[in-house]
């Protein structure tokens, strides 16, 4: 039963990571740009949602304000800065967006102060339900799983069934040709970037009631997100989904069971606990190194 519950926890963490990585991998896959500031849009989403929810008392209004806020800030950043970096190498992109992280973290601190913000689970999603076998599970975490699956579905349909999705894919493969066909590539890119940051904002909103809403909250989740898309294969939304679930599972199961495993192996329980914990912290990185040493381009490389 415990194992099942931990698997569910891993799945839920994975879905959360997918919300973050989908936008990032989309932007990378199409524009070939590494955006380290992706976590900043996650933070903006959470801050705006927390503020609006606190003012109006409505979680839905919070969501309604946060998504455009993240998308618009994203498009502004793309328009002002990132579009100048599409043809540069990755290093420039990494550094410029590294600068953006500093800027946004400090800006948030200047606007909202140094205290974390309050955001709670909307009343309808509060509490837990009984799944089979007497397993109590928080409704809100189930809601996150649902939202993640809906987003995955939405992205799948967007790319495979719509005209816009077709153009995006065409633009990614051959920029000049699609431009010659009269598609406004810069606008298309701005929109895609906006979609990516909107997804990050959505992840931030969903994270708000679970995690501390504080300046710099995006940084720690950012690294995990990169781990996910690298494992999944950069640029592949499908890879991001599978990578996210795998990382979620590895991280959760390592945290849940490694210490116990070490207790069986080592004589001293206290050093076993701490070694198990240290190894659990490293687990996703070890997993990534293993995946990349076998498949250097990730599990589902998008192209090439």
């Amino acid at each position: 039963m415990l194992v099942f519950e931990q698997i569910l926890n891993g799945l839920q963490l994975g879905v959360m990571l997918f919300l973050m990585s989908a936008g990032l991998t989309l932007v990378f896959g199409i524009m070939r740009v590494i955006n380290l500031a992706h976590g900043s849009f996650y933070m903006i989403g959470a801050y705006v949602a927390a503020t609006v929810t606190a003012r109006t008392g409505s979680f839905l209004l919070g969501v309604a304000a946060a998504l455009p806020a993240a998308a618009l800030t994203g498009m502004l950043v793309e328009f002002l800065i990132l579009r100048r970096l599409y043809h540069r190498d990755h290093l420039d992109q990494v550094l410029a967006t590294f600068g953006l992280i500093f800027f946004f973290n400090e800006l948030i601190r200047m606007i909202w102060g140094r205290s974390p913000l309050f955001m709670e689970v909307p009343t309808r999603l509060a509490g837990s339900v009984e799944l089979f076998g007497g397993l109590q599970y928080p409704v809100y975490r189930l809601a996150i799983i649902l939202v993640g699956i809906l987003v995955a579905l939405f992205l799948y349909l967007l790319f495979s069934r719509t005209r816009l999705g077709m153009r995006i894919r065409a633009g990614a493969t051959n920029r000049e040709m699609i431009g010659a066909l009269g598609v406004n590539i810069p606008l298309l890119y701005t929109l895609i970037f906006g979609l990516g940051t909107l997804l990050a904002g959505l992840a931030g909103v969903m994270a708000g009631p679970l995690f501390a809403v504080e300046a710099g909250m995006g940084d720690s989740v950012l690294i995990l997100t990169f781990v996910v898309i690298v494992i999944g294969g950069i640029g592949s939304v499908r890879g991001a989904f599978i990578g996210a679930v795998l990382v979620g599972l590895v991280d959760t199961l390592a945290r849940a069971f490694l210490p116990e495993l070490f207790r069986l192996l080592l004589a001293s329980p206290s050093s076993a606990d701490r070694m198990g914990a240290a190894l659990a912290s490293m687990s996703v990185y070890i997993f990534m190194a293993l995946v990349l040493s076998v498949k250097p381009a990730g599990l589902f490389p998008a192209r090439e």
């Binding site: 926890n9 974390p116 837990s128 679970l210 995690f211 501390a212 909250m217 206290s270």
Partner: protein, 388 residues
């Protein structure tokens, strides 16, 4: 003629006194953490310290002071850099503000050997209380283990037999768990160490539920505590298994956790609702100046300033009287907002400790209320290792 003589002598006296009165203010260097997620801690300490100065119109103990503040960003190297600037450029003799033990360990051992006084308003790692104690290092808050010892004692008094332990996998986490176990006499239902800065606690909460403990001891400072408390409340466990821990329930964090923190037991040497004149004066002035309820960190900053003031008054602002200044600090001749306060032989406080419970406040927010006193005149476990 005689009157003229008197007048003249008086004038001379005044003129002679003028340079002495126009002395340079005593500079105090504050190395604290203002950026990063933990930046609010430094803000509380700085504001509490500044309040004490403002209440005396720019003086401490009647001596004009100048507070120089630098942000260490929680990085040891930045702390060291600031210390160098304060000491070599501004000729500061008193350093304060340290929030985190990693910064303290980089700064304190080096500067105290140069004869600089460090009055720590927060960081109190075991190594500075025990083997690494120094005559120039004073701590006005508590040794890292203290607050967890209080929880351990409380758990024993409550008759908990089976407690679950959760803490981050780093030095302060380990020290705190050790402190808890020092006074907790029951069984340990399970013990989990998490990654520093971890956000998701689903796996830990599931393990905790299956261990079915009587109570949970958690040490998860800052944002980690917010994450944990929110997720714990959602898991529905907070109705059945009480939470107790030394961190994550100061007034700033309570504001972010809200109802999810209701009923959490935490420990402190101070509580906002202490009814002593000194404390009421502090709390009123703090709320008036900053528009928020002070946390225990603000109270520590305020006490650090008042302690420095008492010693400055004793040497009349003459920082060259190093030994007198140290003796005055050792006396701790000031009224602490926490009530009784004196230093032990390792320059850590001997003080009373309380447990507090998170309650709804009148203004719709949440605050801590004093529950009971747990320790009288308590000092840390490392004092015996200190050879000063």
């Amino acid at each position: 003629m005689k009157r003229f003589f008197v007048f003249f002598s008086a004038l001379c006296l005044v003129l002679a006194a003028l340079p002495a009165m126009a002395v340079q203010p005593v500079k105090i260097g504050m190395i604290t953490t203002l950026s990063t997620k933990a930046g609010y801690l430094g803000e509380e300490i700085r504001d509490g310290f500044q309040l004490a100065i403002d209440m005396e119109n720019g003086r401490l103990g009647g001596i004009p002071v100048k507070l120089l503040v630098g942000d260490d960003g929680r990085k040891p190297e930045n702390g060291r850099r600031l210390a160098e600037r304060f000491i070599q450029k501004d000729h500061v003799k008193i350093l304060t503000g340290l929030v985190f033990s990693n910064v303290a360990m980089a700064v304190v051992p080096k500067v105290v050997r140069q004869g600089i006084f460090v009055i720590s308003p927060n960081a109190g790692p075991s190594r500075l209380a025990g083997k690494g104690c120094n005559k120039n290092y004073f701590n006005v808050s508590w040794q890292t283990d203290n607050l967890s010892e209080v929880i351990g004692q409380y758990a024993t008094e409550q008759g908990y037999r089976n407690v679950f332990i959760i803490a981050p996998n780093y030095i302060a986490g380990k020290d705190n768990v050790a402190g808890f176990k020092r006074y907790y006499k029951g069984k340990v239902a399970g013990e989990l160490y998490t990654t520093l800065g971890q956000a998701d606690y689903a796996a830990e909460i599931a393990a905790l539920r299956s261990a079915a403990p009587d109570a949970v001891y958690f040490f998860l400072p800052g944002g980690m505590g917010i994450n944990f408390l929110k997720q714990y409340a959602q898991s529905g466990l907070s109705r059945d298994i009480p939470l107790m821990g030394p961190a994550a329930t100061d007034e700033r964090l309570l504001h972010a956790v809200g109802a999810a923190a209701l009923g959490v037991i935490n420990s402190s040497q101070w509580c906002v609702d202490f009814h002593t004149p000194a404390n009421e004066r502090f709390v009123t002035a703090f709320i008036k100046k900053y528009g928020r309820t002070p946390t225990l960190f603000a109270s520590q900053g305020y006490d650090a300033a008042r302690l420095i003031g008492s010693a400055l008054a004793a040497v009349k602002g003459d920082m060259s009287r190093t030994d007198d200044f140290r003796r005055a600090l050792e006396k701790a001749d000031f009224t602490s907002v926490r009530g009784t306060f004196r230093f032990g032989p390792n320059h850590f406080p001997i003080q009373d400790f309380y447990v507090r419970r998170v309650m709804a406040a009148k203004d719709g927010g949440y605050t801590n209320r004093m529950l009971k006193k747990v320790f009288n005149d308590h000092i840390d476990a490392y004092v015996g290792q200190c050879k000063m």
